[in-house]
């Protein structure tokens, strides 16, 4: 494993922390959800209306209660994941309302797309989880969307997944569904099996929905990503250190709330901070500043002793073109080499989180494979140093017919599934670019994918729960 590198000095980390404490004490953070405000009042924090002014000792104490790492449990234990430490977890994009087809045409995402992306993630060797909210299935009514989405993850793969955090009720639904899958609420309290994404509303606010979700996950001890997206220049200062301080204040406020409700609840320090494109006012994510925010966040998370979330295959491009490739490689490589643990948005994202693309998904899957290999680093054993075989071949020979070669190349070399390494003539026969090859590949993967079987009894129970909730919610 490559040693993760730091982009901030210890003094700089300390400076961000000090600035953050000052912001939390003197500026405060606004929580629109009354039950959350009550929690802070009960814990002796100064509250004015919905704005909470934090005591720094209190924040530091609370954040220290969050675990440094934890295990996320999958229905197939082989797919259990350790979140934290040196580990890197890749998963698909999250929350895009649109699909951009290979030709760049935009359409609304559907539940069928949802299933497809879960299957592609399930089939991938490079993605460790099937993620959550992989697209917004706009053909499903909002009040039952969370059920349909979770069902897709449960039935189409046996990897770990995420659930809805959109309000207390929806969060409770998905927690109960996950409990059925794993054999009860007590089981998942012991062995967390569901995670969710809680986003602040920058600058320095949290809304009702997210706080409701946060409180449900915290009550049941399920992990959550507390994330902030500062658009440097518009919803935060245009200086990166300033924007990082705003982000840090929001994330620490969220983490503090989780630990007040249920000390020891696993949380992940999340950042999707990036910049404002000053020509259009829109968010821009495929850039070096975003990578700096991500890398700094990994380091701040290490400082606070919690796992981190950030980065991904991020781009502002509208199709899986060269721009999509170079921006995504920068952001995924940056996140991975500086120690981000939980990489949401690793695959499929286009146009600053607005769209998912099948082609981009396959390109990112390849990037994830390459970066995954890169961060694994070099092995240094006697055998790997290979003196014996170097001696056997001697000057002027070749290594192609050595047993050492045959044994090692398969584990040492990353084998691309999308990249073209053919001769010119080989390529010319078809002249397919990466986008076109990606189309062939995702269609091929979907055609050949069989979801892992789910126990009939458990499935019946899950079906019944969903049916019951749908009829209740549609009333």
């Amino acid at each position: 494993m490559l040693p993760k590198f730091n982009i901030l000095t210890e003094e700089q980390v300390q400076a961000i922390h000090e600035n953050t404490m000052k912001i939390m004490e003197e500026v405060g953070v606004e929580f629109s959800y009354d039950p959350a405000v009550e929690v802070f009042k009960k814990n002796g924090q100064k509250v004015e209306g919905h704005r909470v002014f934090f005591d720094r000792k209190f924040v530091e104490e609370m954040v220290a209660k969050a675990p440094a790492q934890f295990v996320l449990h999958a229905r197939n234990p082989e797919n259990n994941l350790v979140c934290g430490g040196e580990n890197t977890i890749y998963m698909p994009g999250y929350g895009a309302p649109f699909i951009h087809d290979a030709n760049g045409k935009r359409r609304n995402a559907t539940l069928n797309d949802y299933d497809n992306f879960v299957k592609l993630a399930g089939a991938s060797k490079n993605l460790h989880m099937t993620g959550g909210n992989v697209v917004e299935p706009q053909d499903v009514p909002d009040e039952i969307r969370h059920l349909k989405m979770l069902y897709s993850h449960i039935t189409n793969s046996d990897k770990c997944f995420m659930g809805s955090s959109s309000g207390y009720e929806k969060a409770k639904d998905v927690i109960e569904l996950t409990a059925i899958l794993h054999g009860g609420l007590d089981v998942i309290k012991e062995k967390p099996a569901l995670s969710c994404l809680v986003n602040s509303v920058t600058p320095l606010k949290f809304d009702d929905r997210m706080l409701g979700g946060l409180m449900a996950y915290a009550e049941y001890g399920q992990p959550m990503v507390i994330a902030s997206l500062v658009m440097s220049g518009s919803t935060g200062p245009a200086s990166l250190a300033g924007a990082l301080s705003v982000q840090n204040s929001e994330v620490l406020a969220g983490i503090t709330l989780t630990q007040c409700i249920n000390p020891g609840t696993p949380v992940i320090y999340g950042s999707t901070s990036a910049i404002t494109d000053m020509a259009s006012g829109s968010l821009s994510i495929g850039n070096p500043e975003c990578s700096l925010f991500t890398s700094a966040s990994a380091q701040m998370a290490r400082f606070y002793g919690v796992p981190s979330r950030g980065g991904g295959g991020l781009t502002d491009s509208k199709i899986a073109d060269t721009q999509a490739g170079y921006e995504s490689m920068m952001t995924l490589l940056g996140a991975s080499t500086t120690g981000i643990n939980f990489v949401l948005h690793s695959a499929g994202i286009l146009q600053y989180y607005m769209a998912m693309s099948y082609e981009k998904f396959m390109v990112d899957d390849e990037i994830a494979g390459m970066v995954g290999r890169y961060i694994r680093g070099m092995d240094f054993t006697e055998e790997k140093l290979a003196f014996d075989v170097i001696k056997a071949v001697g000057p002027g020979g070749h290594y192609l017919t050595q047993k050492h070669t045959r044994k090692n190349f398969k584990v040492e070399f990353f084998r691309p599934q999308l990249s073209d390494r053919q001769s010119y003539d080989g390529w010319e026969n078809g002249e397919l670019d990466a986008n076109a090859r990606a189309t062939q590949r995702w269609q091929d993967v979907l055609e050949n994918y069989t979801p892992p079987a789910l126990d009939e009894k458990v499935k019946a129970e899950i079906d019944a729960f969903i049916e019951k909730r749908i009829s209740e919610l549609k009333k």
Partner: protein, 214 residues
């Protein structure tokens, strides 16, 4: 009896040269059917590796080690066949391979040799830095009609042309098909020197030989 043929087949697939030789010695010792051992053992094994290669399941070291194992074992059986005056095993065609004069690059030629072997051709590799005479001498000795000339340097490409000029001078150009390859070569170059074919990759070289010898 067929058990040993399966063992030979496995030895080739595993690229285990020592075992392939040992098994050939046993076949001779036990006076088993030499042609059957070649076809059901060595050829069958290399064909399987060739098919895996085509399917993208086997890689260069697999094919090359298998080709080495096959060649080493089979050459013993062929020598025995020749000694006992038995019927010769029928191959898909004979090819003489070499790197041209002035050039000591080995690896590309070796890869082509292995893949041609895996495709069922009989390959005679005369090595590096070979003059035109050396190609002809070997071809006549073994009855090969295809000459494969490799060149990796822009400065030695000329030797590929010289090989063809040599054949013309001797008035034996029609007796042979000359194919060329190597990094700096191109289809255009092969046309310029009037070669019979050019291949950019080892796979293409196999296709080319199938065309010429098919």
């Amino acid at each position: 009896m067929s058990a040993i043929f399966d063992e030979i087949r496995e030895a080739v697939i595993d690229g285990d040269e020592d075992l392939a030789i040992e098994l050939a010695e046993r076949v001779i010792e036990e006076k088993l059917d030499l042609v059957e051992a070649i076809e059901k053992g060595y050829i069958s094994g290399i064909e399987e590796v060739g098919a895996s290669w085509k399917a993208g399941e086997a890689f260069l070291p697999d094919v090359m080690m298998a080709a080495d194992a096959m060649k080493s074992g089979m050459s013993l059986l062929e020598a025995e066949l020749a000694r006992t005056g038995g019927e010769e095993h029928e191959d898909k065609g004979k090819i003489v391979l070499g790197t041209v004069e002035g050039d000591i690059h080995d690896i590309g030629k070796n890869i082509v040799g292995a893949l041609l072997t895996a495709a069922g051709f009989k390959v005679y590799d005369i090595g590096i830095d070979q003059k035109a005479e050396d190609f002809i001498k070997k071809a006549d000795e073994v009855g090969a009609t295809v000459l494969g000339a490799s060149s990796l340097l822009t400065t030695t490409m000329r030797s590929q042309g010289e090989l063809i000029e040599y054949l013309e001078e001797k008035g034996i150009r029609d007796k042979y098909k000359v194919i060329i390859g190597g990094g700096p070569t191109s289809k255009k170059w092969s046309e310029e020197i009037k070669a019979d074919g050019w291949a950019e990759t080892a796979d293409e070289a196999v296709d080319l030989c199938r065309e010429l010898l098919g």
